[in-house]
């Protein structure tokens, strides 16, 4: 080929308006600009997003099927609330799927993937050190994306990504728990070590432990929170 390995590809980044609106809305929900139970009035969203009602409705349907929005019959869309029980289930599913991805990475034992994971873990540690919590979240997401995509688990990654959005507020709570800045990275390091050693079972286990820990912290937070509101 004449220029490069993937040449002549006239890329078409033109995202459609609908996709942009979707991302904006998802961000807004995930980052709690709307609160659970808030009504999402279609015509208001049209104004806020600057798009037509058609688009808004399509976006709302999409978010509904992602579980971020619930639609009440004859009342319309609201921001879905994720119950503690659902959060538990989501952590369980993540544990299983991330375990599978980690195990598959260990089976491949690709040094480039290991290097990439270590680089990202470095970013996570740095973000903790600088107390930049949002950066911790995005880097952690990158860590798992690397795990999934480099083991060819695209479908599972899609699922994990989508259910994780529903517990984003819990994630941002758990990472600011005392000691999490040490324990979290340490657990991720164990995943990397197991992959480096090609030990699938250990990688599965390490990924599982990491999620289980996060789940336990989240559960404690929720219990505490409930306790506070009950009083």
């Amino acid at each position: 080929m004449s220029v490069s390995d993937q040449p002549m590809r006239v890329l078409r980044p033109e995202k459609t308006l609908r996709e942009l609106a979707l991302e904006k809305m998802r961000d807004a929900i995930v980052n709690m600009h709307f609160r659970a139970g808030d009504r999402l009035v279609e015509r208001d969203l049209c104004d806020q997003l600057g798009v037509s009602r058609t688009i808004v409705r399509e976006v709302l349907r999409h978010l509904e099927s992602e579980g971020l929005v619930a639609i009440l019959p004859n009342r319309g869309p609201i921001v879905a609330e994720t119950t503690p029980e659902e959060a538990r289930q989501i952590y369980e599913i993540r544990g299983a799927l991330e375990g599978i991805a980690a195990k598959a990475c260990a089976a491949q034992k690709d040094p480039r993937v290991v290097a990439e994971l270590e680089r990202i873990l470095g970013r996570i540690r740095a973000a903790y050190a600088a107390n930049e919590l949002p950066a911790v979240l995005t880097a952690t997401t990158d860590f798992y994306r690397t795990l999934f995509e480099n083991s060819g688990r695209h479908v599972a990654w899609g699922i994990v990504n989508s259910i994780t959005a529903r517990i984003n507020y819990l994630r941002s709570m758990t990472i600011k728990t005392p000691d999490r800045d040490k324990q979290g990275p340490a657990q991720m390091q164990r995943i990397i070590d197991a992959i480096k050693a090609g030990d699938g079972a250990a990688a599965y286990e390490a990924a599982n432990v990491h999620v289980k820990n996060a789940a336990a912290i989240a559960e404690a937070l929720l219990a505490e929170q409930q306790d506070a509101t009950a009083r």
Copy 2:
């Protein structure tokens, strides 16, 4: 209470037109009335479904997020095709999640659930005996739904349900494989037995084996099919 156990519930079955259209479209895709890669022209679907473009678009977006429809930029929606590799991933995910559900059922060891599962397995055997393959599929779905919902794994069930739609054609192929009428039910019986015995590990394993077997059959079918077209 005055009338029955779940009384006074003013049920509101009024499904919205959009939901009806969604189900019709999903059925049409899952049952191969449209073929993979077929274009789904919005205005044509309006005619065929007898609804407005508003509805059709919302339905298409919804199906897109379920992975049944893909949307090409400036060309519009087509029926998504599930590659063999994606099918492999889907079977893997199902194995993990159904294993979890089976294990949880074993932990509960609820005799009513066991009875329900045995009743459904009876339906599956009967459907096989009568050579009613579609009934086999729906009963099998019921079997797993029972497993998931009685162990409180609603989120996982939603995921399994949605990804399973994408491999429906494989499911309908695998169940008409020779001997599957004996082996399938036998494997499901082992799941039930493990639950009855309260043996979580065995239940996990049995559920996993069942899915793995289906995956292996599917893979063989796909290889055969590819072989035929290549020649």
